[in-house]
């Protein structure tokens, strides 16, 4: 269980001052049995226009592979500083990744979308493996991934 204070990499406007307007959110990623080595996952948020807002988590420690998280790499220019301090291990097939963090209330029901790009060595790059709008109503509803992720849920 990982506990994070307000996804520090998110742009300051979205971080609630003093955490008063934030709520604890749990992200749960269940990996599929995709038959390969541990997958890299980039979890990030875009706004209503599709522009990059900030990163929430990077699963996978070696930045030389980040280019395979193609959408994330394009949006950030491959900037490792975007995931400074919010990086963990890659996630193996069939495993579960659970992240707890305080997210600003303003992120919900405001057109923001949470994305997960995925990739594994010698396998396909899967940008936009998950793309789910952040809404209060969507909490607790599992979303299926395309290739690596069996399902993804965020909940309060």
């Amino acid at each position: 269980m990982k506990s994070l204070i307000a996804a520090l990499a998110l742009s300051t406007a979205l971080i609630a001052p003093g955490l008063a307007l934030a709520r604890p959110v749990t992200l749960t990623v269940n990996m599929a049995q995709y038959g390969g080595p541990g997958a890299y996952l980039a979890v990030y948020v875009t706004d209503a226009s599709g522009a990059y807002v900030g990163s929430l988590w990077m699963a996978g420690g070696k930045s030389k592979y980040y280019k395979h998280l193609t959408d994330w790499a394009q949006m950030t220019g491959g900037d490792v500083a975007q995931v400074d301090g919010i990086t963990g291990a890659s996630v193996g097939a069939g495993q579960q990744l659970q992240l707890s963090m305080d997210l600003a209330d303003a992120l919900f029901d405001a057109g923001y979308t949470l994305h997960i790009d995925a990739a594994a060595e010698e396998m396909r790059d899967s940008p936009n493996e998950i793309a789910v709008p952040l809404t209060a109503a969507g909490a607790g509803q599992a979303v299926r991934g395309r290739r690596y992720i069996a399902d993804f849920t965020y909940g309060f």
Partner: protein, 735 residues
């Protein structure tokens, strides 16, 4: 020092290096297999054409990749189901699964991280560092052993394990060193220790907004040859703002899906380009043949490990233990040893035991540990040292000259130097001389002139020990027979007798080649591989002292042959000449690399008298390449001791022997071989002008007569036996 650097990584990291080498060798097969199993490329095909074909077969295609081997893999979605396959570039149709085999994935993971994640990657890197140190120090050792880099591929001589080690290493070292360097680079890259400058162009601000153009109609894709392709990523279906992303060896760019124009392009920086080459050099991915060569180089590692371990073990075993040894600070006699193969240790231990027998406290140590300030109770210091190569320090004496030069001498403590070597080498006892000079310069008292022991002669050592005993006032007379390598029984096949009528009974004795299992040969037991000119040690019954005979045959002849003359009262020659076919003697091999023909095509002048013809006959018998070989042979009487007369006639007929001149001392003009040489002075000078090499074998008197004759003959050319010997063109085997 170099040897220490080579030894310890080899011994400590052997298991790790073996693991990496074997898994690497197995992995080297995969690029070749991939190359063989991939559908053939279509010549002249463009990326646009390929993309259109794949798109037709898989409308949901997202990405097309081309591996360095040329294999094309397509990734797509059909409905919600992800699909991937190797495709035939000619048709765009699937031909094989895109998934890497579990075996290859496991091996890759094992090779680079020992299945232990990042910690294992560091472990593998340690193995690569050890490999690199071994490769570099090993290359320097081979160069030193061979006498310079330009002689890198010259034939290697010596005991079996050492020869195999050097033979394999000098071929494989480039591959092994490169594998290690590239592995370290890749590890550094993985841990972000190298700058990253991959192409990552900024996304275009505006696109045409149109969709639906066929890739085959896109200029940017049509202008890109298939062979340059690395990766082509398609835009998201239904997203008119998205673009094609094209990556080639030259860079990455974005292509408008409506117009097919290149919107942005960026080339990677130098670090990325170098990194790609490093990857190719390490994995052979995209250079399958190179990969296989690297794999072969890696396969030498098990053999190098075993032979290297054997060399170390045998050197260790050869250093004797001295019971009741005194500490350096307590000993009255300090014996310091410079030894390469360990023989000198044997003499040193014999001296130490003899001194102990007289109640002396003795300290025995390697010459490289020379530290006179610690020898608080020393009454005398004895340095016994061999010479390595061209006058260099042997293993256990590395750095001794510098230590002698630096340390203050002990006043009133005499230092005695005894050299060991082989008179056939130009640098006979040169290192012992260097030690003596260094000690004299440093101010040591040297009451005894430097003595030199030729070819481990027990007699010469006993003589020296008596003189040394006189010096220190102890009655010493030490008989030390260097421990013969385990001897092997040789069975006599046939004998040919000569010389009875001239009171010089002489026989050519031919023994069967003993069958020795490989393992025994590697561990130094049995008769090793031998050439004519090497020495056969025979231990006569009733004696511990071996006699050495020059071999008149090589291993490839399939028999062991020596020529023996009976000496009046001679124990060994008497026993040998009494042998009947079927009888056996105990024998061992001692290599004699100083008396071997070189491998050039220059003429050889062979000069022998009596039994000295033995090794020369061996050279002639092996001369199937018809190198010009001229023999001058001296005997007593053509009807009595004209050894090998029929063979010499045969070889002259089949051109193995170019010319033959004989001298008989009990007939006609009563000539010796040196007299005939003088008669043939003009011919000899002509041969010398062609670069001829001279090899002399016989008794001490005869060799001296030949040397004198040659001095006169060569004088007009400005040459002398001494100058030729220094250049490796005048070799003697004298007994």
């Amino acid at each position: 020092m170099l040897r220490q650097i080579h030894r310890w990584p080899g011994l400590l990291a052997a298991a790790l290096i073996l693991t990496l080498a074997l898994s690497g060798a197995a992995l080297s097969l995969f690029p070749a297999l991939e190359r063989l199993s991939s559908p053939a490329a279509v010549s002249g095909q463009t990326v646009g054409d390929l993309a259109a074909k794949v798109l037709a077969a898989h409308p949901g295609v997202e990405q097309i990749r081309r591996s360095p081997s040329g294999r094309i893999t397509a990734y797509w979605f059909e409905g919600d189901v992800a699909g991937a396959a190797v495709v035939d570039p000619a048709t765009g149709q699937d031909v094989a699964s895109a998934d890497q085999g579990a075996m290859q994935r496991w091996l890759t993971d094992f090779h680079r991280s020992l299945l232990l994640g990042d910690a294992g990657r560091y472990g593998s890197a340690v193995g690569a560092v050890a490999m690199l140190v071994l490769a570099l120090s090993g290359a320097l050792l081979v160069a030193r052993r061979q006498g310079g880099w330009q002689r890198w591929f010259a034939p290697i001589k010596g005991p079996l394990a050492g020869r195999w080690h050097a033979e394999l290493a000098r071929v494989a070292v480039v591959g092994l060193g490169l594998s290690a360097v590239t592995a370290l680079w890749m590890t550094a890259s993985t841990f972000d220790l190298l700058p990253s400058d991959e192409a990552n162009p900024a996304l275009p601000q505006t696109v045409s907004g149109e969709v639906g153009l066929s890739p085959a109609a896109m200029t940017a894709l049509q202008q890109t040859p298939m062979a340059d392709l690395r990766d082509l990523t398609f835009p998201y279906a239904g997203d008119a703002t998205d673009v094609f992303t094209l990556t080639t060896g030259a860079g990455t760019g974005y292509i408008d899906q409506g117009t097919g124009e290149m919107l942005a392009w960026q080339s990677p920086g130098p670090w990325t380009t170098v990194g790609e080459w490093i990857y190719l050099l390490h994995t052979g991915d995209g250079a399958a043949l190179w990969g296989l060569l690297l794999g072969l180089a890696a396969l030498t590692v098990p053999v190098l490990s075993v032979t290297g371990g054997l060399i170390w073990w045998r050197n260790r075993q050869s250093r004797p233990r001295l019971h009741g040894m005194a500490a350096a600070s307590m000993a009255e006699t300090v014996i310091l040893v410079g030894s390469e193969g360990g023989t000198t240790w044997g003499f040193a231990a014999a001296l130490a035991r003899a001194m102990q027998g007289h109640g002396q406290g003795v300290h025995l140590a390697a010459l490289s540990s020379f530290a006179p300030q610690t020898y608080a109770h020393a009454k005398q210091i004895v340095v016994m040292t061999a010479t390595w190569g061209n006058g260099d320090a042997p293993t256990s004496a590395r750095g001794a000259l510098e230590r002698i030069a630096k340390a203050a001498p002990l006043t009133g403590v005499p230092l005695v130097v005894l050299g060991f070597g082989d008179r056939n080498f130009p640098a006979f006892c040169a290192y012992a001389e260097a030690v003596e000079t260094a000690a004299r310069t440093a101010g040591w008292a040297l009451p005894m002139a430097l003595d030199r022991i030729d070819r481990q002669s027990p007699q010469a050592f006993a003589r020296w020990s008596r003189a040394f005993g006189d010096l220190i006032g102890l009655p010493l007379d030490i008989t030390h027979q260097p421990e013969a390598p385990q001897s092997t029984a040789l069975r006599l096949l046939s004998r040919k007798d000569y010389g009875d009528s001239v009171q010089a009974p002489t026989s050519i004795l031919r023994f069967a080649l003993p069958q020795t299992p490989l393992w025994q040969r590697l561990t130094g037991r049995g008769i090793g591989r031998f050439s004519a000119g090497d020495l056969l040690g025979i231990v006569p019954e009733g004696s511990t002292v071996a006699r050495l005979y020059s071999l008149a045959s090589a291993q490839s002849d399939g028999f062991v042959e020596i020529v023996v003359r009976k000496h009046p009262g001679g124990l060994c020659s008497g026993q040998l000449l009494a042998l009947r076919p079927g009888d056996t003697v105990q024998a061992f091999l001692r290599p004699n690399p100083g008396f071997q023909p070189d491998t050039s095509k220059a003429p050889l002048i062979l000069i022998g008298a009596g039994t000295g013809i033995g090794p020369l006959v061996g050279f002639l018998r092996a001369n199937r390449g018809h190198r010009p070989m001229h023999l001058w042979f001296g005997a007593r009487h053509p009807q009595a001791d004209y050894l090998y007369a029929e063979d010499l006639a045969t070889w002259q007929a089949d051109k193995r022997l170019t010319s033959l001149r004989t001298a008989f001392s009990r007939m006609g003009r009563r000539h010796y071989v040196q007299d005939v040489l003088r008669e043939d002075a003009e011919a000899i000078r002509r041969l010398m002008a062609q670069g001829a090499r001279i090899m002399v074998c016989g008794g001490r008197e005869m060799a001296k007569g030949v040397r004198d004759a040659m001095t006169d003959i060569l004088h007009p050319l400005g040459l002398s036996p001494a100058s030729l010997r220094a250049g490796g063109r005048y070799a003697e085997d004298v007994y």
